[in-house]
């Protein structure tokens, strides 16, 4: 993505966040944690299907990939409301304050954009049922998760 694109994505996140600013922080944190926990469940199912010891079922992989795509496109930016880097939803948030630091704005937009891009591509690749291609694309998606975790998620708290 170029700089202009990054700024547009970042602003979309900020604006979307503002819409939910009136919600209680703990509710916002809960919804955020739910989204990523549900993402984790779907991701684990794909990982299990790709495991050499697992059973690859095309239809099941497509379901999970479609769920991940829908999560990525559901407007998660709305759940990054300033101040929600502290507080407890289902558990204490691991979101780092860097998520609201203008110095990290382009990084945030970059990792968010990458996640969306690779999630959308995974859904397309999953539909082909090509296991090796799905494996490659799943690796690319996983890298975007790591890209966000490394920058914006506390290791332990």
């Amino acid at each position: 993505m170029n700089t202009k694109h990054l700024i547009v994505v970042f602003c979309a996140i900020v604006i979307a966040g503002a819409v939910y600013a009136e919600s209680r922080p703990e509710e916002i944190i809960k919804s955020r944690q739910a989204a990523y926990a549900f993402l984790g469940w779907n991701s684990a199912k794909i990982r299990a299907a790709l495991d050499p010891a697992g059973t690859f079922n095309k239809e099941e992989v497509i379901k999970s990939a479609n769920a991940i795509q829908a999560i990525a496109n559901s407007g998660l930016g709305a759940l990054y409301v300033k101040g929600t880097d502290q507080g407890t939803g289902f558990h204490e948030t691991k979101l780092k304050s860097e998520a609201f630091d203008p110095a990290y704005a382009s990084k945030l937009a970059e990792v968010a954009g990458n996640f969306n891009k690779e999630a959308n591509t995974l859904a397309v690749v999953a539909a082909t049922g090509n296991k090796e291609a799905i494996k490659d694309q799943y690796s690319k998606l996983s890298a975007t998760c790591k890209g966000c975790h490394d920058n914006f998620r506390a290791k332990n708290n």
Copy 2:
């Protein structure tokens, strides 16, 4: 749905559940609670968009409807593993033991099937952007949520 269809849906739920039977109950309950909490967030966004005092944004409604559709089609039956009517995920489960009682099998298959059907239809209706049609279909979907809650979810615990 006819009886045969109900039995097929119920068996699919049981078989899918068996696949995850080796997972720890608390992890299964967490994933289940995450799925429904994420569903709740997306549902709340549609409700807010349809509120006379709210702002109807077609693209946002489509995102939420697509997320709900993907949740409904993600294979949630796998999260109804026998024994997970007791235990704590993010919080104590509200699932009633009736979910695993053969006497309620056809009811469970019915409410699960209705939820899927109305969620899939909502995604189709949302894509049209017709606010009144979306309102009608959202009401139908909400009724299926109630149908499950009334039968299989404890009021308070």
